[in-house]
């Protein structure tokens, strides 16, 4: 399966390859430029042989101080037609850089992309509703970043309206 995907990427989509690097993993991993993620995912989904038409997971990694650029968006795709084989697409991005949303290809990417926005602070372009999904709307910071303190910055601002109780009530 790895060779077939490699051939497809190298022939039709070679301009979107970020780098070729061997990753020690049982899942074949490909590094894609951020502007190419929508056409690459679309091609893998539509290809009659490969048929990677199931988005298993969509998440991100913060490589603070270990890699440049700092963040990686990970797309785990599955092909139920080909013995459920899986591939991983990784998109390295820097902070503040917009990533094209793949909601137009996989509708199920809607909430995972919002989750990444919520917890990592990476924004997706052309997303139907780029708001926080889990944390309160007035939350400050992005907790899954490596430089976020575990206990937060002192979270009482979140319930400051509750901390004063009126005796007359």
């Amino acid at each position: 399966m790895k060779e077939k995907v490699e051939t497809l990427l190298n022939t039709k989509l070679s301009k979107y390859i970020f780098k070729t690097e061997t990753v020690s993993s049982n899942i074949p991993t490909f590094f894609i430029k951020s502007e190419g993620i929508v056409p690459v995912v679309g091609a893998l989904k539509e290809d009659p042989d490969l048929k990677f038409d199931f988005l298993n997971d969509l998440t991100a990694i913060d490589w603070l101080g270990k890699k440049e650029p700092r963040f990686e968006i990970c797309y785990l795709l599955k092909s139920p037609k080909n013995k459920h084989s899986r591939i991983m697409l990784k998109v390295p991005v820097e902070e503040g850089e917009g990533i094209p949303s793949i909601v137009s290809v996989f509708k199920g990417a809607n909430w995972p992309e919002r989750e990444i926005f919520d917890l990592f602070g990476l924004e997706f372009i052309n997303h139907p509703m780029m708001d926080r999904i889990i944390l309160p709307d007035n939350f400050q910071g992005h907790p899954l970043r490596k430089d976020y303190p575990l206990e937060g910055f002192g979270q009482d601002y979140l319930i400051s309206d509750l901390l004063q109780i009126h005796k007359e009530d």
Partner: protein, 186 residues
């Protein structure tokens, strides 16, 4: 025979037919055996409460048999589990909807102190914004501990009196406000 004589010998002067007491004691006696709980279950302590309410342990023996899922018909709120900052306004609103007299039992380590979750999302104890009456230790507490807390609350309801209760709530609210004042970051 004056009223003081009657009061000094309850149950004797007029036979078994009439008992003389004061209104406070009757009201408190009635309340203490009909403490309907509102289970605010957000984590595993809620499962322990289910065990407490079911037939093996049977909290109904103590008059708390009907878990009320409307806060307006409940007398005490059992906070069972981790309270996050996002859940805190919900809990507070439900507490405000409970009809007086209302009591708060904080069940387990998470509700009482945040437990092992000393993180950005978890309130470090519901006594930050609610006047708590009884704390139950444990992670999660056994059903016996929950029933023990209920017995202690019954004792409190029976002996405290309405005016003392009012004063206690006032004092607790003042304490909460005082403790929180320097912590609010704008």
């Amino acid at each position: 025979m004056g009223l003081t004589d009657v009061l000094s010998k309850p149950g004797q002067a007029l036979g078994d037919m009439v008992q003389v007491t004061n209104l406070d004691a009757v009201v408190n006696w009635g309340q203490s055996y009909s403490l309907w709980p509102y289970p605010f279950a957000t984590a595993c302590c809620g499962i322990e409460f289910m065990g407490t309410a079911c037939s093996d342990n049977d909290i109904a023996r103590f008059g708390a048999e009907r878990p009320s899922f409307s806060p307006r018909q409940a007398d005490m709120i059992l906070v069972l589990g981790t309270i996050t900052y996002k859940m805190a306004p919900v809990l507070r609103e439900i507490y405000d909807q409970l009809s007086e007299p209302k009591y708060v039992i904080s069940v387990g380590a998470c509700a009482s102190s945040g437990g092992m979750f000393d993180t950005y999302g978890v309130v470090q104890g519901i006594d930050r914004f609610l006047p708590v009456d009884i704390y139950i230790p444990g992670c999660p507490p056994r059903p016996e501990a929950i029933m023990d807390a209920l017995l202690k609350l019954q004792q409190k309801v029976k002996t405290q009196g309405l005016e003392n209760r009012r004063q206690e709530i006032k004092r607790k609210i003042e304490e909460i406000n005082e403790r929180n004042r320097p912590l609010i970051i704008k």
